[in-house]
Symmetry: C2
Subunit: 371 residues, 2 copies
């Protein structure tokens, strides 16, 4: 290849943040029996959302509304802000890419936790930012350390997920509010609340809606069971929200996705049912982990991160043994988090497969280590 691309692009690795389960199934030559690795919501979307999407399919010859007007207004009402406080985007992933582009130039320091969401780090690298990481503390992100790193580096951007992925742990709303209050004037906090609907009350803080220092990120991929439609949204100060319009793909949010998200937002009963089902699955996974001699971490999400009790190599062997037994799970990428595997709150029949296969997977992992 001639030097066709920018020096930055040429410097980027060809690796991708995640390999999808479909790709793994194609390599394996057979489907997983338990799809519980991508923090999807197997309890599914609201039937009202499914019906709205089927109806919207017949209108798919029309471009989507680039302003996501109806959805944005409904979200504003639901969150007690104005529509000017809300931006709808192609999932949180898409919004993360846009925010990084708004803020990051080559060399810009950006703060995150070591082992936090890889797609954020991918976007920071993609715009040439300098990733500054702080370690997790007791399997939780460490707000004080994040703040200290922001102060030390002058970073204009910091990422914090609450509840956290991949560990499932969380901080109180008060702790988050304290972090926001202590931010320098020029720093933007990305508060990723993808899992907020699964958390106990008192985890999502009330924040001043016009504070330009914080952007709250939410999604329809998790509690609403609509990962496939790629609809996320940001809530923040209108001056920050308005900046998206300068750079985003205006017609990027699929028409059927907008319809599905709007209908899902209106079905509070379904959300209640999903929360209950996820809570039950969480308890069952924790009990199964303990029955297998492993330590489940507390979780405020739709997955349970399970400490396999040894190092990353051991957890990787457990993971591989589960994959070989048709159980799709994932694990954190870096030490010391990678002593764990991450098990999603699947449907009962999927957890039946997990229950059946877990003991043999652990035996196989142990045998492989000593073999």
């Amino acid at each position: 290849m001639p030097a066709r691309f920018t020096a930055l692009v040429d410097s980027l690795p060809a690796t991708v943040p995640f390999v999808g389960p479909e790709a793994q199934e194609r390599v394996r030559g057979r489907p997983f029996r338990a799809r519980i690795g991508a923090n999807e919501n197997g309890f599914g979307a609201s039937p009202m959302a499914v019906a709205a999407m089927a109806a919207a399919a017949a209108e798919a010859w029309k471009y989507c509304d680039p302003e996501s007007h109806d959805l944005r207004h409904a979200l504003a009402a639901a969150h007690g802000v104005t529509p000017a406080h809300v931006m709808v985007g192609e999932g949180i992933d898409g919004l993360l890419g846009l925010v990084v582009r708004l803020v990051v130039e080559p060399g810009t320091p950006v703060v995150t936790s070591l082992g936090a969401y890889p797609t954020f780090a991918y976007h920071v690298a993609g715009f040439g930012g300098r990733l500054v990481t702080v370690p997790y503390h007791d399997d939780r992100e460490d707000p004080e350390a994040l703040l200290a790193a922001v102060r030390r580096t002058g970073a204009p951007l910091v990422y914090f997920a609450n509840p956290d992925n991949p560990m499932g742990t969380w901080w109180s709303a008060e702790a988050v509010a304290e972090l926001v209050a202590a931010l320098p004037t020029h720093t933007l906090l990305l508060l990723d609340e993808a899992y907020a609907e699964f958390a106990p009350a008192g985890v999502s803080p009330r924040l001043a809606p016009d504070d330009p220092r914080v952007l709250r990120l939410r999604t329809f991929s998790k509690a609403h069971g609509l990962a496939g439609i790629r609809v996320g949204f940001a809530v923040g100060a209108p001056a920050v929200i308005a900046a998206f319009d300068k750079i985003r793909n205006h017609f990027g949010v699929n028409r059927i996705g907008q319809a599905g998200a709007l209908a899902a937002l209106g079905d509070g009963d379904h959300l209640v049912r999903v929360r209950a089902a996820v809570s039950a699955a969480r308890s069952r996974i924790a009990a199964l982990a303990r029955a297998n001699g492993l330590l489940p971490l507390p979780s405020a999400t739709n997955f349970v991160t399970v400490d396999c009790g040894r190092d990353g190599a051991h957890a990787r062997r457990v993971l591989d043994a589960l994959l070989a037994r048709d159980v799709f799970v994932r694990m954190p990428g870096v030490a010391p988090l990678d002593r764990c595997i991450r098990v999603g709150c699947g449907r009962p029949e999927e957890l039946d497969v997990l229950e059946q296969e877990w003991p043999a997977a652990l035996s196989a992992a142990t045998a492989a280590a000593s073999g």
Copy 2:
């Protein structure tokens, strides 16, 4: 606002490439009776595609396949290339943004035609590129002038639409192949073929699939009647296609969209019906234009660009008068193209509205000018 964003972002205007018809309807307080301004396909998608999307809606709790495996393989077969030659993205708009990001740094010269697709210019501005424009010649893009501008500026990126939007005109496959053959080694041609399915035979060239100098852009938004699902694709050399993986939003192409596009690709009969309906509509719009004393340009697309016979101010008055009469149309943005309006190949009932309202709109435009 504090200086929260990059200097580049701060320098960008808050304008957006297009205002959607929904936004205009909200301002007007009533719907359009003829939605023929956005080059949509009112004859709609294949019933097979609609059914596939409705079925996929029930599976929307799963993330989409980030590799768009099935769709990409089907597209490769249809285009006589390998899957490594194909990248699926969030519409041509999304792919344009990614290509610009791959190639353009602040100050990079980029060549296009003055008045060509605004979203491309939007992305070039968004990455700080220096847009170098050449005029249309006889209402067609001018390959020789584009090439001369590439040579003069050393531009690594040049945009050429065939057939063209907003004028509807086209060049032969031979002319395009000559343009490609004459490109400098390091220059990438974006060959936007969004309207290719509406063109006569012999317009889309055969190109060497491994030539890294040309990227062909196609979409499901036009002939396939799926503008709302945001699925486009690029066909090019594997080394160029692979670069997308370094920067794209991997999970950005909606699961339902992938299913709809795949089914649409399999329904050749529907495409034949759409082509015939568009051809008939094209003839009718041209006849209506002539009956109203206006000059329709020849078209190889699903719209007819109509010369209103005077300057841009007059065409704008005609457009406004049509909008006031519930006919959604658009017009080119710069002189001398802006002496025209662009009329989409709508359904018969929409063209009935156009037929009914066009004479009064022209009278109103003339009266407004002399008033």
